[in-house]
Symmetry: C2
Subunit: 497 residues, 2 copies
């Protein structure tokens, strides 16, 4: 069931306004599984306390409610209990207790996901991993570091400040790095540095039965390996449905000597995308290349008091040495100019770059400001580059025809773009129109050889689309893998598959 359908059901049941109020423990049968699971839970909570101490377990309504939602519009589905392990040994001990009592396990990073991945559909135990927040084993010469699951992207980069290194994957939110691994996150820098798939070298994983293992072997961190099955990349993107990620070893990069940012307007979507393809084809090692459509730029102008031309726009960033940047920038300007690009703005120092990119960074809030009081939902299709103009043009026509607000921002170098759907949750007709629109958009992407999710994951809302995307045989393979590693279906049940 998609998010919009869930929203709609809640509306129909008159529960939308109440969705922030978590049901009390033990009495509400919706969130508190009946029968065996319920009795198991009573016994389990005591056992949890023996592992983590009293302060590591909570059954309080407010706490459970905080852990039942992410940043999406999916309704809150609070777990029955929240635990805060402090070490992998505690995670393993807690998992064994859950396994014994057949309680669902939902890993929780920062709650910044966008597809409802942390909702406790079948009740169970939320593992909040934020107390495990140490940066371990920085090997600057080897460009790698190992982090515990509570370490966020910005916390890691603060830690690295004096090392000359950074971790470039940037989904926008200050997500935990293990959470980013779990959803195969990426963001604006992926065109140059890759996604989490390319940047995780090793993971420590706790399976549903408490087994602890390392996907590439304990402590291993070669830059490449052909040793056995690629377990690392099976767990990257598994969205908590195969195991709990308790450590990640990540690739790091040298901080570029210099950066240059640029903004450029185009007469059409086609012209902006043609420029992108040509920039990539020329081998210009562009670090970011972001597309904003005319509606998005207009929203940003209003929200951030800017005055960019209201037309399809590219935001670019170049990383490199001073000299190499000169060449990159002049080549990119030439290519963009040949495609009708105009109104270039360039920025070199950090402050001016920050101002230039402000429009892009504030896009989410600018979209929300278009309709105060509304909520936002981000679509996430990704298609081959050459298909971008067609899908964006068709999608904009679809939005207009159906009277929907959905400014477009995209990681155009990867073919990935988002419609930031701004909707009134109290208008069931609009909710339904958004639901139908997002499905049409996903199917448009599938028809153009693309995917329904480039970086947000499947979570709750895209399970039916996933099946359409990969086909029944691939789904059977995924289900077989899931059953082999989690035969009791305890790991984040109801997600992905």
């Amino acid at each position: 069931m998609s998010f919009a359908r869930l929203v709609q059901l809640h509306l129909l049941q008159g529960r939308w306004a109440a969705h922030r109020r978590a049901p009390p423990l033990r009495t509400d049968r919706k969130s508190y599984a009946a029968g065996e699971q319920s009795r198991g839970l009573d016994r389990a909570v005591g056992a949890f306390r023996a592992v983590t101490g009293d302060e590591g377990v909570s059954v309080g309504d407010a706490v459970r409610e905080q852990h039942g939602r992410d940043e999406s519009v999916h309704s809150c589905r609070p777990p029955d209990v929240v635990v805060w392990p402090r070490s992998v040994e505690e995670v393993s001990a807690l998992a064994r207790i859950c396994h014994h009592h057949r309680l669902p396990i939902i890993p929780f990073g920062t709650g910044t996901g966008l597809e409802g991945g942390v909702g406790a559909l079948k009740g169970g135990v939320c593992f909040d991993l934020r107390k495990m927040d140490r940066v371990l084993d920085l090997h600057a010469e080897d460009f790698d570091v190992t982090v515990e699951p509570g370490v966020t992207r910005t916390a890691l980069n603060s830690h690295l400040r004096d090392s000359g290194l950074w971790f470039p994957v940037d989904p926008g939110a200050d997500a935990s790095l293990c959470g980013m691994a779990a959803t195969s996150a990426s963001g604006t820098n992926a065109v140059r540095y890759g996604t989490m798939r390319e940047n995780v070298l090793n993971l420590e994983v706790v399976l549903a039965d408490g087994t602890v293992f390392h996907t590439a072997g304990r402590g291993r961190r070669p830059r490449k390996t052909s040793a056995g099955y690629n377990l690392t990349n099976l767990f990257v993107g598994s969205e908590g449905t195969l195991g709990i990620l308790t450590k990640a070893t990540l690739r790091l990069y040298g901080i570029p000597e210099a950066m240059v940012s640029a903004v450029c307007s185009f007469p059409s979507v086609q012209a902006a995308v043609d420029s992108t393809v040509q920039i990539l084809q020329c081998g210009i090692p562009i670090a970011r290349i972001e597309f904003l459509d005319d509606v998005m730029i207009d929203a940003c102008n209003r929200y951030s008091r800017l005055s960019y031309p209201t037309s399809p726009t590219l935001f670019l960033e170049f990383h490199g040495s001073e000299r190499s940047l000169e060449e990159q920038v002049s080549m990119a300007e030439e290519l963009a100019g040949a495609n009708g690009g105009s109104d270039f703005s360039w920025a070199r120092d950090a402050e001016t770059r920050g101002k230039l990119w402000k429009a892009r960074h504030d896009a989410w809030y600018a979209a929300l400001a278009l309709r105060p009081g509304c909520k936002a939902y981000s679509t996430d299709v990704c298609v081959p580059l050459s298909r971008l103009p067609q899908i964006i043009v068709e999608t904009k026509a679809d939005l207009i025809k159906n009277k929907l607000t959905g400014p477009i921002a995209g990681h155009v170098g990867d073919g990935n773009f988002h419609c930031l759907m701004v909707l009134d949750p109290d208008d069931p007709a609009e909710v339904q129109r958004v639901h139908e629109f997002t499905n049409r958009l996903a199917r448009r992407a599938l028809a153009l050889d693309g995917t329904c999710t480039g970086e947000h994951g499947v979570g709750l809302g895209k399970r039916a689309l996933l099946r359409e995307e990969v086909g029944p045989q691939a789904m059977e393979v995924m289900e077989a893998l899931k059953a082999s590693l989690d035969p009791k279906n305890l790991m984040n049940p109801g997600k992905v598959l």
Copy 2:
């Protein structure tokens, strides 16, 4: 059992000289499984002929023998029958027959593997995929192409010649691209362009029971995706033990505007590795950075009539625009010089670059020429960059102490290096010394956070080392995945696990 142990057993049994003579079909119980499998085979061969026609099936001794070995020193283990399917439908039909009769299935690309991956340990059916050799669906604007499993690396690059694109992964041999995917191959360009893991977008796979599916969904080719489990990277590196790869969709790259090659000598291994780390740390987008030790350079000088100083040497290659190359080259030269690098040679045009790199390209033959009549086996450890000087120094001391010939060539930017062990297969004491040396080397790599195989795969000889490397829990996970996708253990049995 490692390759050397196998060699030794053959020696002890007096069979080494006879290993090229394949046993005749039906009479030799070593290669021709007894009982049910034997009776099943009789019936299966007729069914195979109904699928592929008579010309698509062979039980001839010479043909079986050709398909029972790769380029390693592992002894020949011929399959019972070889089939040549012409389409995925035929592959599926043949697999269903094998599945029905419980016959092992061994996929065969070009036979250029280095770890005995194609040996039919339990007899069975070799699927030679070379008749499926079409390049399909080139999307130049999207930088992707789909190939059938018989397409080799150089065949693809010939096909791409006029498109301005190329596929850069280069393991040396002219391997099939699906074979390269199956072993997670890489080679000299990986430091810039990644390995097969980073460059396969989608795979068509036939499972042991004949099920056909696409790891990312049929026809899908977005540059990134978060849709469900990463099946693509589960099959990349699975060495034929999970399914047969019948199509691969690959990432392509723009052919660089210009290339520059260079050679530089160093006073020590440490100085060469320090230069490498600094070049990477400065963000110089080096395309290749290859290390040859003094013994290897000496062998190359003799074999290729060159006169490089007999000291640790780096071979470098830079790809980019004319202007960016100038800067890359001057920065690299400065860094190398600061570490005592000397005797620089630079080359820009294709012919001079070819001459300069000849020493590196001929390394395997140069090593063999050190001891005419001997065979070669290549080790394949990979460690974090900072550990390279230690492991190379210790390994060179080990070679000298044990009177072994093993010149070293390495993809130093990835921390991956090979000892090209030249050994006399008729000297059981030397075979034993090589066996013990390769195990010591692998364990040295493991002690330094590395892997026993950076790019050749596990195959036959490294199964025990894989277990040491990843630990018993990760092995259990791999075994569970294998059992879930191939419950009858028909896919390339006896490899990897």
